[in-house]
Point group: D2
Chain length 130, copies 4
């Protein structure tokens, strides 16, 4: 479990004065990138190893709204990494601990030089994720 902190910026809030639902996708990615950086596996490092991991599936359940300047905690965990990288997320308000949303993303592995989709996460990636 990894926790990424995010302060809601003004430009992410919509006319209902809550974070626009589409903007949480960006918070998920920021959290995922921070998680992967800890594993020594940034997108740049993935690329140097010859792989890319495009998102192939995204699911979000929105539970409560959040507002400008709220401090959010994005809890991110790697759920599985056999044929896909599957991450699970929970976003909560740091202060009140109320759940804001839950989410899941699936990423496929692509061999960038061969331009081929792989049906298994390569060993050099798996070894870093463990």
């Amino acid at each position: 479990m990894f926790i990424y902190e995010k302060v809601v910026p003004f430009y992410d809030v919509d006319s209902m004065r809550v974070v626009y639902h589409g903007n949480y996708i960006k918070y998920l990615e920021e959290a995922r990138c921070a998680f992967l950086e800890k594993k020594n596996l940034t997108y740049t490092q993935m690329e140097e190893l010859g792989f890319a991991f495009p998102i192939v599936e995204l699911k979000v359940k929105y539970i409560k709204p959040s507002k400008f300047n709220d401090i959010l905690e994005v809890l991110v965990s790697l759920d599985s990494f056999d044929n896909f990288l599957t991450f699970k997320y929970e976003i909560r308000n740091k202060e009140t601990k109320e759940k804001i949303c839950k989410a899941e993303t699936k990423q496929m592995c692509v061999d960038v030089t061969k331009k081929e989709s792989l049906f298994e996460i390569p060993q050099e990636i798996v070894s870093r994720l463990k």
Copy 2:
């Protein structure tokens, strides 16, 4: 079935030269708004009727990438409107007709003045959607 056309803008494309996965959420909303406008039920009109429809669930499956200046067609249909407004979407390349992604959104009805979630879509909304 309603078709909304969208030209991919430069600022929606990421460093892999494809539309950033989070940006499709915006295209879904543009298509949904255009659909609802045809039904005489814009967000503004919903608000005047005293209701808001926050997104409570989002699912996207990404099938193929799209690039800067691609012309996309967002096919949107209202799947159900009993307790939630459920929309289904397919985004395809206008020229090649290749599927880019499939998606589903669920919106809950909120009575804005009473600040209450409703567990049924109100009759004045349903009558316009039919």
Copy 3:
């Protein structure tokens, strides 16, 4: 003079219920791209010719706010193309003709293969812009 039409999407509006000031930059670019496409000079075509045109200067004066679903007209004109591509813009409400903002962008020419900044717009670009 070229006119580009843009309907204000919900996700571009902030909690003051007006278009977030930073989002007009995207409308300027959409208008500029549409203008350049007419000249047979999309970013993709520029790239094929071996050039890129990064923005080096941006100025915006905000005059009146615009709201969700407003139809805007972005008037774009190429002001000069000797050492920089300089575009001038005026955004106005299509219906009321009220001025929303005025803007100017300057783009430098970069020779992508040599990775060199050019201090003159190359002849093959100039000939298309005339």
Copy 4:
């Protein structure tokens, strides 16, 4: 002088692999908000005092590009606060100290209840900014 730190997120980078020029506007705002929070004058507090401060002018000079995961420092200073709030900014790479861009924003004061533009920054705002 106030320094705000920002890590470039993946979704802000364009197909040239550099931060899309329009996205720096968001970094300016994040820095400005952090600066104002130190002065006990968040947008929320401004609103409670009955004022809003819409941006009326924006100028940016782009000097060098920045890339995904770069750590940026946004140096923000309040240049004047007589009839407008004028902020000046410099964005630089935290590690190399190279200048990325320079910018200036002007904000007007609006009395929200009277819906009137003010031609002087009110005393209760000025006293906090000093």
